[in-house]
C-alpha cells in the first residue's frame, strides 16, 4: 500500500504538530485517505481500548469535511469509521473523495466542533491527469431520413457516463437554422445498467394526435425538414471527464408513419439445408434495432428454440439470423414478440397512436409469426 503524507497545514500554531494535529494520508488511491491524530494517554483513557470507536464519539476528537462555503459553517463532517489504535485515532471516510475537491481534517479536545479546534490539515484531491477519451459510439436510428413521428433515439457511449437529469438538456435537437428545439424529450432519463446507453424518447404528448400538448406546441419534428441531434461536450463521463468531442447527426424528416408493423409483408430468404448461411428477413420498414434483437426468435417444427446469432442491418430494414449448427431440412417458424416496434413505436398489434376500442382501424388480425421451409 502506498502511503504518503500530503499537504499538512498546522493552523494551531501554539500546539506542537504531534500533539493532536491531524494528518491526512493517501490510502492507495488519491481518492482514498486515512486521517489520524495522536492522543495523550489521558485522552486515550476517555475513548477506551483499541478497536472501533462509535462515530459520534470519534467526531468529538476528529473530523474530515469538504472545504467550501456551499455547505455552510460549521462544515458538515463526513461519514466514516473511527478506530483507536496504539494511541492514535484513525478515521476512514465512508465514501471516496471527489477529484478536484479539497478537504479539511480538524481535531478537537473531545467536545467536537462545539469546541475550538486544535489544528487542521487540508488535502486537495488531484484531478485526473489525462485527456478526455470518452466519445459517442453511435446513435440509433442513424438514417438519412426518419419519419417525423420518430419516437426514440438510443445514444451509445464508449464508456460509462455520469447520470443526472441534466443530460436531457445536454442532448439537443437543432432545426435547420441551428436553433435549439425547446423541451423535445420526455422528462425521464433512462440508462442501461452500466450507463453506456441513454434512451431519449421524443415527447409522446407531442407525437400523439389530439393531445393538448401537441395542439398547443405542435409536434417536435415536422415532415420535410432538416434537424441535427447534438451530443455536446458538456456531457461528463463516469470519471468526471467531458466528452472528447461533440457528436452531430443530421437527418431529414419524412411524413409520419402511423400504421402497425406488417409482418405479412416481410420477405424471408431461406438458406439451404446443411449450410450455416444466415436467414435473411427483409422487413416492411426500419425497426427499433434493440427491440428487434430480442423480439424475433426462431423455432423448429417441434417448437424447439433454435440457437444462433441475430443481427439487424444498419438501416434497420434487414434482420439476419445465423445458426450455431447447420440447417436441417424442415419447417421453421419466425416468432414475433408483440413488444417489437418500429422507429415510431408502432407494433405488430397496433399503431402507437391508436384507439384500442376502434379495432376496425386494422381490419386484419395481427400476425405474430411466419412459417417457412428449409430445403
Amino acid at each position: 500500500m502506498m502511503s504518503a503524507t500530503l499537504l499538512l497545514l498546522t493552523l494551531g500554531a501554539a500546539l506542537a504538530a504531534d500533539a493532536g494535529s491531524p494528518t491526512i494520508t493517501v490510502d492507495g488511491e488519491p481518492t482514498r485517505v486515512i486521517v489520524s491524530r495522536s492522543l495523550t494517554p489521558e485522552e486515550v483513557a476517555k475513548l477506551g481500548a483499541d478497536g472501533p470507536i462509535a462515530e459520534p464519539a470519534g467526531r468529538a476528537w476528529l473530523t474530515l469535511s469538504l472545504v467550501g462555503d456551499a455547505a455552510g459553517r460549521p462544515p458538515t463532517p463526513m461519514f466514516g469509521s473511527y478506530e483507536l489504535r496504539g494511541g492514535k485515532l484513525l478515521f476512514r471516510p465512508r465514501f471516496v473523495l471527489v477529484r478536484g475537491a479539497a478537504y479539511e481534517a480538524e481535531s478537537f479536545a473531545g467536545d467536537g466542533p462545539r469546541s475550538p479546534h486544535l489544528a487542521a490539515a487540508q488535502y486537495a484531491v488531484p484531478m485526473l491527469q489525462r485527456a478526455s477519451t470518452t466519445v459517442v459510439a453511435g446513435v440509433s436510428p442513424h438514417l438519412p431520413t426518419l419519419p417525423a413521428n420518430v419516437l426514440k433515439f438510443y445514444v451509445t457511449f464508449s464508456a460509462p457516463m455520469r447520470q443526472g437529469r441534466v443530460v436531457l438538456e445536454q442532448v439537443r435537437l437543432l432545426d435547420a437554422g441551428g436553433k435549439e428545439l425547446v423541451a423535445p424529450w420526455r422528462d425521464l432519463e433512462l440508462w442501461n445498467a452500466d450507463a453506456t446507453r441513454l434512451s431519449l424518447f421524443v415527447h409522446p404528448g407531442r407525437i400523439k394526435q389530439g393531445v393538448n400538448l401537441r395542439d398547443d406546441f405542435g409536434p417536435v419534428l415536422e415532415p420535410g425538414k432538416q434537424y441535427t441531434l447534438v451530443v455536446g461536450t458538456d456531457l461528463v463521463d463516469g470519471a468526471g471527464m467531458p466528452l472528447a468531442r461533440a457528436f452531430r447527426y443530421s437527418f431529414t424528416t419524412a411524413p409520419e408513419l402511423r400504421s402497425r408493423v406488417d409482418v405479412a409483408a416481410w420477405s424471408i430468404a431461406a438458406p439451404k439445408s446443411a449450410s450455416r448461411e444466415p436467414l435473411v428477413v427483409t422487413l416492411d420498414r426500419p425497426l427499433d434495432r434493440h427491440l428487434a434483437l430480442r423480439a424475433l426468435t426462431l423455432v423448429d417444427d417441434t417448437g424447439q428454440d433454435l440457437l444462433g446469432r441475430a443481427e439487424v442491418s444498419d438501416d434497420g430494414r434487414r434482420w439476419t439470423w445465423t445458426p450455431t449448427t447447420r440447417w436441417t431440412a424442415g419447417g421453421y417458424t419466425l416468432k414475433v414478440d408483440p413488444v417489437l416496434e418500429d422507429l415510431c413505436g408502432n407494433s405488430p398489434l397496433r399503431a402507437f397512436d391508436h384507439d384500442l376500442e376502434a379495432e376496425q382501424v386494422d381490419v386484419l388480425p395481427p400476425l405474430l409469426e411466419r412459417v417457412f421451409e428449409i430445403e
Partner: protein, 379 residues
C-alpha cells in the same frame, strides 16, 4: 361512492406524538426471514415506507425492490426549522461538492418524522440513503449491515431502467417501472410477507387518456398511491400530461392486463412527482406536486414545480370517468372546477411526503435554484 381512508404505513420508530393513522394489520410481518448483510443496491431510485419500519427502495438497474428494516431514531420529531441549502449539506456529508449528488427521492418515516433521502453520488454512482431528523442532523442509513429482503421484478425480457415509484398497499408491495426500450406501463405486485429473492407478478396496464380521448397502454406511471374504497384496494397512478387513473388491485392475476379508470386530468405538459391523501376539517383530499416541463412556454406559476389539491371523492367517481373525467383546466387554461385547486404556497416543491396529521415535509426549490428542506402545513 364514498372513499374510505387508506391506512398509512407506520414505521417502528419511537415517537407517536403526531401520527394518528394506525397501520392496518400492523401485526402482519412485512419481511419473512430477511437476509442480513450488505444490501446489494445498484441504485436508489425511489423510497417509500411499509409498516413496521420497513423502508422500500426501488432499484431499477437491479430490477428489484429492496425492503430494508430501519431502527427507531434517537431524535424523533418533525423538523423544527427549515434547512437552507439542504442539497449542499447532504452532498458535503458524503464528501461531495454541491451538484456532486442527485437527490432521487424523499420519504418520511410516518411515526418519527425523520426524512429519508435517496441519493446518488455522481462521481462513483454510489446509491446512498441519508436521513435528516427533527433536529436537522444528517445521518446515514447503514446499508452495509442490515436486515433486508430483495423482491425481483419479472420484466418480460425488457430491461428495467428505473423504478418510477413504489408503495405498500395493506398486504402487498406495488411498484411501477420504466424500461429503456419500451414506452410501456407496467405494474408489479408482490404479496407480503416479502421473502428474499421472491419474484413479483407483472401486469400491463391500459389507461384511458382523457385529453387523448383514447385507450392506450403506452404511458408509464410517474407516481402511485394505494387506497381503499368500499373495502377493496385500488391503486391511483398519475402520468405525464397528467391523468389520474385508478386500478383495482383485488382481482389481479399474473400476466393479466389491468384496465384503469381515468378520474381526473390535471393538464398537459406536466409530470407528477408525489401524491398522498389527508384529511382536513373533516374533508378528505389528495395532494400532488408536479413538474411542468413546459414551464418556459406556458408557466403555471413562478416555478416549474407546482402543487394541486383535489377532493378525494374524485377517486370514487364512477359516472364521470374516462372521456367524461373532470378537467382541472378549460381550453383557455383557466381553472375549470373548484374541486381541484392550485396551492400557491407550495410553488417550487420538488419532493414531498406527508408529515403527520397537519404537515408536509417538502424539498423546495427557491427562485435562486437553492434547495430548502421545510415543513409546510397541509393545505
Amino acid at each position: 361512492m364514498k372513499v374510505s381512508s387508506f391506512h398509512i404505513a407506520a414505521c417502528a420508530c419511537a415517537a407517536l406524538t403526531f401520527v394518528t393513522l394506525a397501520p392496518q394489520g400492523a401485526a402482519a410481518k412485512i419481511l419473512s426471514q430477511p437476509e442480513h448483510g450488505k444490501v446489494p443496491l445498484k441504485s436508489a431510485d425511489v423510497l417509500a415506507f411499509a409498516p413496521e419500519g420497513v423502508l422500500l427502495i426501488g432499484d431499477g438497474p437491479s430490477a428489484a425492490i429492496f425492503a430494508v428494516q430501519t431502527t427507531p431514531p434517537k431524535t424523533p420529531g418533525k423538523l423544527t426549522s427549515p434547512i437552507a441549502g439542504i442539497d449542499a449539506k447532504l452532498a458535503a456529508a458524503v464528501g461531495a461538492p454541491a451538484g456532486g449528488i442527485e437527490i432521487m427521492d424523499l420519504a418520511v418515516c410516518p411515526t418519527s418524522g425523520t426524512a429519508y433521502f435517496a441519493v446518488r453520488k455522481q462521481d462513483d454512482k454510489s446509491p446512498i440513503v441519508l436521513t435528516v431528523n427533527g433536529a436537522g442532523e444528517i445521518g446515514l442509513l447503514d446499508l452495509d449491515s442490515a436486515d433486508y429482503v430483495r423482491t425481483a421484478l419479472p420484466t418480460d425480457g425488457a430491461p428495467v431502467s428505473r423504478i418510477s415509484d413504489v408503495a405498500w398497499a395493506d398486504d402487498k408491495l406495488i411498484a411501477a417501472a420504466a424500461t429503456q426500450e419500451e414506452f410501456a406501463s407496467k405494474i408489479f405486485v408482490a404479496a407480503g410477507p416479502l421473502k428474499h429473492d421472491a419474484v413479483g407478478a407483472l401486469h400491463s396496464a391500459e389507461t384511458y387518456h382523457v385529453q387523448h380521448h383514447k385507450w392506450e397502454t403506452k404511458s408509464p406511471m410517474s407516481t402511485i398511491m394505494p387506497f381503499t374504497e368500499g373495502g377493496k384496494t385500488y391503486l391511483a397512478g398519475a402520468f405525464a400530461c397528467t391523468p389520474v387513473v385508478k386500478y383495482s388491485l383485488d382481482s389481479l392475476s399474473p400476466g393479466a392486463k389491468v384496465k384503469g379508470t381515468s378520474v381526473l386530468e390535471l393538464g398537459s405538459g406536466n409530470r407528477p412527482q408525489d401524491m398522498f391523501t389527508y384529511t382536513k376539517d373533516g374533508k378528505e383530499y389528495v395532494l400532488t406536486n408536479t413538474l411542468r416541463f413546459h414551464h418556459e412556454k406556458r408557466p403555471f406559476g413562478p416555478s416549474p414545480y407546482f402543487t394541486v389539491r383535489f377532493e378525494r371523492d374524485l377517486l370514487g367517481e364512477e359516472e364521470n370517468v374516462n372521456e367524461k373525467a373532470l378537467l382541472r383546466l378549460n381550453k383557455s387554461y383557466e381553472p375549470a372546477t373548484p374541486r381541484v385547486v392550485m396551492i400557491d404556497g407550495y410553488s417550487g416543491v420538488v419532493q414531498m411526503d406527508r408529515l403527520g396529521e397537519t404537515d408536509v415535509l417538502v424539498l423546495k426549490q427557491n427562485a435562486d435554484k437553492s434547495m430548502e428542506l421545510a415543513v409546510l402545513p397541509l393545505p
